[in-house]
Symmetry: C2
Subunit: 138 residues, 2 copies
């Protein structure tokens, strides 16, 4: 019996992003990308890893989140100063922001019609349009 290697979709994703498929990256990716799309903070993910008996340092969680973002596997969202959320849904979409408890919910791109945009000054190029619908419960 020779050494076996499993090429899961996650490992392929990492390879494609030129990121070595380390134990930590694989575990974090599995935690984040299983199930539904999420909006997760670094501290939340670190706690989830700990709970799942995955030993990862907080620095590695931050490194991984940023590397994944750079690779297009995540999207970083800032709605409140002081904490970043990372969105596992990288498709074109928008958000409800619940001011009461600070959580985010997706709004499909076709539910918000931005039918006209200005031309950026100085020849700048639009990299993304974020629509945040701030809502209050009660």
């Amino acid at each position: 019996m020779t050494t076996e290697k499993r090429y899961t979709p996650i490992i392929s994703k990492l390879r494609d992003a030129n990121l070595r498929p380390t134990r930590q990256r694989i575990a974090l990716a599995e935690l984040m990308f299983r199930g539904e799309d999420r909006h997760i903070s670094a501290e939340m993910l670190h706690k989830e890893a700990t709970t799942a008996r995955v030993s990862v340092s907080l620095a590695t969680v931050y490194n991984t989140l940023h590397q994944f973002t750079q690779a297009g596997l995540l999207r970083e969202i800032a709605v409140e100063a002081g904490r970043s959320y990372f969105d596992t849904n990288t498709s074109n979409h928008h958000h409800f922001y619940f001011e009461n408890d600070g959580h985010l919910e997706d709004v499909h791109a076709d539910e918000v019609v931005v039918s006209s945009l200005p031309t950026p000054p100085g020849g700048a190029k639009i990299s993304r349009v974020d629509v945040v619908i701030r809502v209050r419960q009660d």
Copy 2:
């Protein structure tokens, strides 16, 4: 000669907001609201005050910015985690965010047509819709 009081527009604004017109609040308001609309951070304003020989503590700058925001004289904007901007333009409008240097520029409300919005879940009420057009120079 009796004690004289000048009721400038700024002092009236403060009185209307139930804020005592202290030396610090008046000076900060004068710095912020003279001239064009701006997107200013607490540290920027504190430095401006210092430069203008206005002695104010950083805590007071933060207190004042938050009180003004609460009173509707300012609007707080978060585009990057870690630093808040306060907008002296409280009318309905949107923003270009220059990813290179992190500065904001106004986009008039009528230059962005958001022609359709989803209904918030759970009977939540929309308090504001923020459109941030992220742009890159080159």
